[in-house]
């Protein structure tokens, strides 16, 4: 645990944002000086209209996935889940594939399909959980989530099978690999109305996550309404995830690994670990996206990079440290 982690995290975040602005292929490959960018009209326009929205989107994507993963882990009392857990990611993938196959695949329809079906994944999981007749409410949600995720995965498989292998199948595959190459300010502004209220709600209610991570009857004995509060927080986390995933595609491992790293840095109290997760998530995805757009001459899919780095970080955590949870 670090003694004063937040000033350090904020400083790192600022530094990474600044370096990301200066980093790219134009005016020079690698890092350009601020004056080189300011003096070149094309470079200025490129930074303003392409690089900056992409940086904002990457940082937001990281904060949302990390926050949602953190919320899911606390609410399910399980350190190995993330927001893909209740069929949100699989629903989004299905929605995007559906739009690519049946709606000619224009960008906004794909995004809408992903957002709507991502959110539908959560709704279906919840509805199904209410009909399961055994187990506590958490176990019922887990079982329903597995069923819904699996159903959407099967649906996506079917859509891939019937899709046009020349045009649609590559589109589906690319969407699922995840990336931010098309992001504009319009995209950033479109996700903000959902992402901002969701994040604010999660941040202001973060202390209660400690409470809701207790067994249900204990949380109840402390005055919480565990089921109602859990639903509100899950909706916020799932809505924010569905919206960012609709723009970025499948970005795996962030929601799972970042909360663990944050807990390593500041301890497990959600009051500190949630804000730390937001910052570390933003930094992590932004660095991955910088690598995605600059490492090779072509773009590397962001989802591939987050999975690669995330797995390495996960293994390093498990091998070097205790993971900050009961083993």
């Amino acid at each position: 645990m670090l003694r004063k982690p937040f000033p350090l995290l904020v400083a790192i975040a600022l530094a990474v944002v600044i370096l990301s602005v200066l980093m790219g292929r134009y005016p020079v490959s690698g890092f350009s000086s601020p004056s080189a960018i300011l003096q070149d009209d094309l470079a200025r326009s490129l930074v303003l209209h392409l690089r900056l929205p992409r940086i904002a989107a990457a940082f937001l994507l990281g904060t949302v996935l990390a926050a949602a993963g953190f919320v899911f882990q606390m609410l399910f009392r399980n350190p190995l889940v993330d927001s893909g857990f209740l069929g949100v990611s699989q629903g989004a993938a299905f929605g995007a594939s559906l739009a690519i196959v049946f709606a000619a695949g224009s960008a906004w329809i794909v995004q809408l399909g992903a957002a709507v079906f991502g959110f539908l994944g959560l709704g279906l999981s919840y509805g199904l959980a209410r009909r399961i007749r055994f187990g506590g409410s958490i176990l019922r949600l887990v079982l329903a989530g597995i069923a819904v995720a699996s159903l959407f995965s099967a649906g996506t498989g079917l859509l891939k099978y019937i899709s046009d292998p020349q045009k649609q199948l590559p589109d589906i595959t690319f969407w699922m690999l995840g990336g931010l190459w098309n992001i504009t300010w319009v995209d950033v502004l479109q996700i903000l109305p959902v992402v901002l209220p969701s994040l604010v709600l999660i941040i202001v209610m973060r202390w209660r996550l400690n409470l809701l991570a207790l067994r249900e009857e204990t949380a109840f004995s402390l005055g919480a309404s565990p089921r109602r509060e859990r639903l509100v927080l899950l909706i916020a986390a799932a809505a924010a995830t569905a919206v960012v995933v609709s723009k970025a595609g499948q970005i795996s491992w962030v929601g799972l690994i970042i909360p663990h790293i944050a807990r390593r840095i500041v301890g497990s109290d959600a009051q500190r670990a949630l804000p730390a997760s937001l910052l570390v998530g933003g930094i992590f995805v932004l660095i991955c996206d910088d690598a995605a757009r600059t490492l090779l001459s072509g773009e590397i899919p962001l989802g591939v990079l987050t999975a690669l780095v995330g797995t390495a970080a996960f293994l390093a955590l498990l091998i070097k440290h205790r993971p900050g949870v009961k083993t």
């Binding site: 400690n210 207790l214 067994r215 204990t218 004995s221 402390l222 497990s268 900050g324 009961k326």
Partner: protein
Amino acid sequence: MKARSPIVRIDQMSFAYSADGPEVLTDFNWEFPQGTVTALLGPNGSGKTTLLNLVLGWLSPTAGCVRVNGRDRAETTRRDWSREVGLVPQEEPPVFELGLLEYTLLGRAPYLGLLERPGVKDRKAAEAALERTGLMKLWSRPVNALSGGERQLAAIARVLAQDPSVLLLDEPMSHLDLGNTRRILHILKSLRRDGKSVILTTHEPNIAAVLADEAVLLKEGRILAGGSAASVLNAENLSATYGVEVDVRTIDNRLFILPRL
């Protein structure tokens, strides 16, 4: 002992976990007096923990009612109710490594709004609770890293920070060594002196004998015997409750209860 006003009153209460399932508690009537320690005894499956959850309000009776301080659970808000009734569950290993002080602070939730976080006053209450349970020196230690006995004391510290009128404890002294058992006995006795009412389940009749003012013996969801601990904890009642021969001896004015071999 002069009659005290009841703090928890149970009237003709029955409970089943599902509409077509068997009744776990049947036609249950009891008054728990204020400022006393009551021990609930009975074999596994006799309905002790279910009874605690019904008093807690986590479960709702299928018939009859439970009133705490004259009020039904439905007549009051969740937060108000949790200032009245607190719970120490049987075992609750936290999944995430919460520090002991952070864990104890959760007891202050009934005094905080949905968007509020604990302040200085709550921190003082939590620290006082840790002092009282003798855990203050461990305040920064993760709860998972504590021994079983210390974890049990931590759960008690949390309920002390909550400061309810009625404390429900589910097997608070199971798996504890003698030192920790003695610590918890002292804390529970001091709570009685503060006018708090304690209802605890236990598998150990000797704990009931040394601690409780009143004892209720349960079998198959019904009260087999109930009243002052000294009068209820006799060989005949305990044999009927557990279905084995029981020896009860009085040595130096204290009851000792053992199964006959």
